[in-house]
């Protein structure tokens, strides 16, 4: 296995996987606690529509992925804030509408373009040096922002109205969280793909949720689980010639079920009953 690390492409893949695993799993803590799970799914599909349009127009793919992702996540936040319609309904509409746009853009392409499909299903083993730089830069920006504003993010995840009442600029922090979700989706698009990125945001955080009663511990556990699944998933996919995205996600899912079975919270509840 060690000789694999001598290959440039494997070094890039493992680094990209570790970065994506850490960013997705840390932002996932706030997504899970604030109840924004489906906003992540909607954003992922919107970002893919952005990629498809960028290929159609000959633009850098991640530029329009960011635009589409941000537009979707902000509309989602605005709808929740105004309470005009149930959040699941509005996300459902945006989710399917952006997917329809993606299919439309793919249909408008005259030839089959395998690179576009790489963003749908993920292809971590083909990450280029330039893409790795983009992933690295965005990861530092997202993780740095979370580190700087972690106390406010925890507070709005716990109780947004209470946070606003006690002097935290809760509304601005909520929109910042949505922005970070969109950026995270874009970071992970190439490695795990639009369909599975949502799993990388949700599963490590949900696994950590089973294991602890502390917010800071949950974040730490989630990050370790995210990095472990991403890196091990890449190695497994290479060793057994499997697609990388599903390898990462299925490994994370297995850990999740293991955590549910061994959850100290659950065992404590059973004992209490």
């Amino acid at each position: 296995m060690l000789e694999l690390l001598a290959y440039d492409f494997m070094q890039r893949s493992l680094l990209a996987a570790a970065l994506v695993g850490s960013v997705c799993s840390v932002i996932g803590v706030f997504v899970v606690l604030r109840g924004l799970a489906f906003a992540g799914a909607g954003t992922a599909h919107a970002a893919f529509a952005g990629v498809a349009l960028a290929y159609l127009l000959g633009l850098p793919p991640l530029s329009l992925a960011i635009v589409f992702g941000l537009a979707t996540v902000w509309i989602t936040g605005w709808v929740e804030e105004k309470g005009r319609m149930k959040l699941d309904v509005s996300i459902g509409i945006l989710y399917t509408a952006t997917m329809a746009l993606a299919i439309l853009f793919l249909g408008l392409m005259k030839t089959y373009n395998p690179e576009v499909y790489g963003y749908l299903f993920g292809s971590v083993l083909s990450v280029t040096s330039e893409e790795l730089l983009t992933i690295g830069g965005l990861s530092i920006a997202v993780l740095g922002t979370i580190l700087l504003l972690s106390k406010e993010l925890y507070f709005i995840a716990f109780d947004q109205e209470m946070a606003a009442a006690s002097g935290v600029p809760a509304r601005q922090i909520f929109y910042l969280l949505l922005t970070l979700v969109a950026l995270t989706v874009v970071i992970a698009l190439k490695t795990v793909g639009a369909i599975l990125v949502f799993a990388m945001i949700l599963i490590p955080a949900s696994t950590a949720y089973q294991l602890t009663h502390s917010l800071t511990q949950m974040t730490l556990y989630s990050m370790l689980i995210g990095i472990f699944c991403a890196v091990t998933g890449v190695l497994l996919s290479y060793a057994f010639d499997l697609p990388s995205g599903p390898s990462i996600v299925l490994l994370a899912t297995s850990l999740f079920f293991l955590a549910v079975c061994c959850s100290p919270k659950r065992l404590h509840r059973i004992q209490a009953e």
Binding site: L33, L148, L149, K151, E152, Y154, F155, F158, D159, E161, M162, A163, A164, A165, S166, G167, V168, P169, Y209, T212, H213, S214, L215, T216, Q217, M218, K265, H268
Partner: protein, 260 residues
Amino acid sequence: MTHPIIRFDHATFGFPGTVALEDISLSIPESEFVGVIGPNGSGKTTLCRAVLGLMAPMSGTLRVLDCACEELRCHHRALIGYLPQKGMLDRNFPVTVLEAVMMGRYGALGLFRRPSGKDRDIARQALTQVGMDHHRDSALGALSGGQQQRVFIARALAQQPRILLLDEPTTGLDLTAQHSVVELIQQLHHELKLTILMITHDINMIRSRVDRLVLLKTKLFAAGPPQDVLKPEILSQVYGKELVITDKDFIIVEDYHHHH
């Protein structure tokens, strides 16, 4: 009378087409303990949101801490400790008691600043004041309803507030827990000289503890010492039922009185 810390001057609150509170004029001096009562939908929670600066008056003015409420900035809000109506807490939410109380420091600290040892000491002191310091490392979800209310009061105290706003702090608690929470609030008022605004339905529990009662029914129906406000003729106008005050000074609905 000392300088008012909260002053409503002909203030009306609501949304376009709906008036929730109309033409309220009321001054609350520093260190007063005020009970706010009234039937459901009488505007009690609106009053609370207005004082927090979450709602601006449609007409008239409201000044809190010498500042127009619509201009309350984050540092002002941090001086108002708030206990919202008890919602359903997800029992599995991963937060310890100390982490929840530390959140009370976040508004005052401001963005980008990490809580220091001093903030931790303030949070621990707030937990001691509500008698919960020994639970500081417990999961919040594992506590009883009454203990959780104590923790949330500690979070409000950790803000080192000048005003404490309590929105139905005893709702959903069993009788003993209700009593102990109200006793705690009264004790905090005595010890810390906080201005307290407590919204409640439990007139009997607070009548002997507050300095003044404010009775709302969209308008300010009455305000004054409990014995002046709690008169059968006033209460029956507001609650729409014949209320009687028993020989033990308990206020009950008349039907109940007849049957017992």
